[in-house]
Symmetry: C2
Amino acid sequence: MGRMTSSSTRSPAASSGSSSAARPHIVIIGCGFGGLEATRALHRAEVDITVIDKTNHHLFQPLLYQVATAGLAAPSIAAPVRVLFRRYPNVTTLLGEVSSVDPAARKVQLKDGMQIGYDHLIVAAGATHSYFGRDDWAENAPGLKTLADAFDIRRRMLMSFEAAERETDPLRRRALLTFAVIGAGPTGVEMAGTMAEIAQHTLSGEFRRIDPGSAEVLLIEGGARVLQAMPEVLSQKALVQLQKLGVQVRLDSRVTGIDGTGLSIQVADGSSQRIDSHCIVWAAGVAASPLGRLLGEATGAAVDRAGRIKVEPDLSLAGHPEISVVGDLAAAMSHVPGKDPTPVPGVSPGAKQMGRTAAANILARLAGRATQPFRYRDYGNLATIGRNSAVVDLATPFGPLRMSGRIAWQFWLFAHVYFLIGFRNRLVVLMDWASAYWSFQRYARVVPNLKEPPRPQ
Amino acid sequence: MGRMTSSSTRSPAASSGSSSAARPHIVIIGCGFGGLEATRALHRAEVDITVIDKTNHHLFQPLLYQVATAGLAAPSIAAPVRVLFRRYPNVTTLLGEVSSVDPAARKVQLKDGMQIGYDHLIVAAGATHSYFGRDDWAENAPGLKTLADAFDIRRRMLMSFEAAERETDPLRRRALLTFAVIGAGPTGVEMAGTMAEIAQHTLSGEFRRIDPGSAEVLLIEGGARVLQAMPEVLSQKALVQLQKLGVQVRLDSRVTGIDGTGLSIQVADGSSQRIDSHCIVWAAGVAASPLGRLLGEATGAAVDRAGRIKVEPDLSLAGHPEISVVGDLAAAMSHVPGKDPTPVPGVSPGAKQMGRTAAANILARLAGRATQPFRYRDYGNLATIGRNSAVVDLATPFGPLRMSGRIAWQFWLFAHVYFLIGFRNRLVVLMDWASAYWSFQRYARVVPNLKEPPRPQ
């Protein structure tokens, strides 16, 4: 099977997505939180917009771990891009992957050769996994960024239990019942907590030769505490809640190797440990999209170690005011008058706010007004851990509000349902969670892909 | 990646799934409608049961076309096998594919070498696609039997519209907007009707360069009418309803070739036609699982042209009363006292009823009683065509009851929701259908697999 790249080359004019040549053409790369908010902020303006994404859906990434752990079906957290923009007649959607940007010619090139000219460009291409130079680890320790990743992890997790049920060798059976999550940020904590819940509750009574509750879930973290973006007191609470769920948390533990049968870690005293496991999830490293480096080379903009592009206070690039970078691809600073700039964290509210600011600044430029520096409004930080437990660190006008346990979990739940797109999805997610809460069941335990064999032992 | 076959070989004793040697061990191959009903009918008996399936879920196949056409998420029509049997302590579930049966040794062998002894065997391995000897057609004309098939068709259908939006060559664009369904049985009629609905309603207003409503949906049938299992008057009604939805129905048209750019058909007058299309669905031929032929060779049982095994009136095999075959794999006859035996149609009620009869006959044999011949109770036949239209042919004690149009569609809808497994799924499917009915939207329009490139043009 070839790729879409085999299609014919097209003239830039035919591809501009704009029928009225007089209106400025804004190209937006990526339809994550940043690109989606930018499009929404621009669709009423007298501009033509082309949104390019390499998938056909906007993904609500904060709940992706629920798809990976069979709690939600993929369509509940993914909205087709075309549906989102159907009522915006000035928005054209293109499914495609950007291979390069030519700032001199003001053109974006897709992998199949298609070229799209722009007057203004918003790059919101997001982030991918980083294995810190060890890309060979990817095969045996998938990360969690896309729906395909989530299905891969779901399959590995469920198939490990299936293979364990058939395994007679006690050591191999133990390895099949050992699950390792690397990295104790929000995703890692959520994955490990949910995996423990699945082993102890969801699968209970379903197997005849193994006890799924005897499965071990390890959460391996290089730093000294879990959820390092949180205040230390909440890290402590999260640790206790994880341990109560049965998760074995290994702090100060650095991964030194991953292969088809397990992983090696170096613990605090410098000694090495080997952990046999067939289901390893990578939640440790995030790197900006490769487009960051390409754009840095093309424009001369500085790129940081994580591959993010350093942007001007108004999110544009130095020397290229017609290009803005937002979201996880931007090494952006928050500018509060009278204070030193502070770095913007790589969270979805940050991406959304940057998308809106970049859009407003483009409209300001088009109107001949001055642009505004980006100011990040921090509403706080939250992470769920599993059944009835979460930690929440809210920034309120009266100072921080910290919660943990059941009340934090309820807050987390309603905040996520609130930010989901579409009434149908909100309702179904609420229903599925209510049903999972009372029945301990997870209804999306389906491994559809017959063609892909169960993973090797 | 290896297969599960790389696991260790095990002794048959360790694999029998039975802890009490005194109880008869019944092995059931396949957890479709036949295998599921047989297991349910046996789980209260003093027997040990091992159910072997090559997927981890029981699939509600009558609604599979809804997953293919993005109307439902996969988990809504698939129930994990382990969940179905969790409360049956005498049932062991194994994920695996049967490679052979040894009737002399009374053993089933899995692809990975695992052997499972049985006292009684129920083979309910179902059916697969048949390309009438042209297996090379499969690559460009997938059939619809598994969730993987449904995702494949969903991807091809949605990606054809995406590619058409980018295509500038009018002929290629026309080919990308031509959808061909081969075979006008219930699946073909449902697929074609829904595809037309998607083109005309669901995608309306979402594209900027193409009009999805200009897409052509062709339904190609070798016979003289659609839905040949239905009375002729309902075939006529279905034809009119299909045409009203915009489906081009080509009767008396035989497919003579399928390749990466389209298909060739021979029409009634003997002349040939070429249809350029990039989304072809195969709904024409069904063949029994390859296990049929293997079992025929091993037991001497006769196998018909479709690969189905001829069974005795009580669904067992001649000379092998300990082996029963049910569902699409069985060439079974219905025995009504005082009447000539009639063939059982390949529909889900037939499979379910055979599963129950085979189970009852095993229990009769174990108790030393005589077995009963299988009697198929025909409750009728129904097929949906699209929005507000269906045909229903009910067998009632007072004679046939025939419906078409909106009332038939409502009957079809509630019948399918009724037979779905699980309260959650019934509720969500009803909700999704209600939402689709009023909004014309289909919420599962997500193509998750980034790794698989869009199909070639």
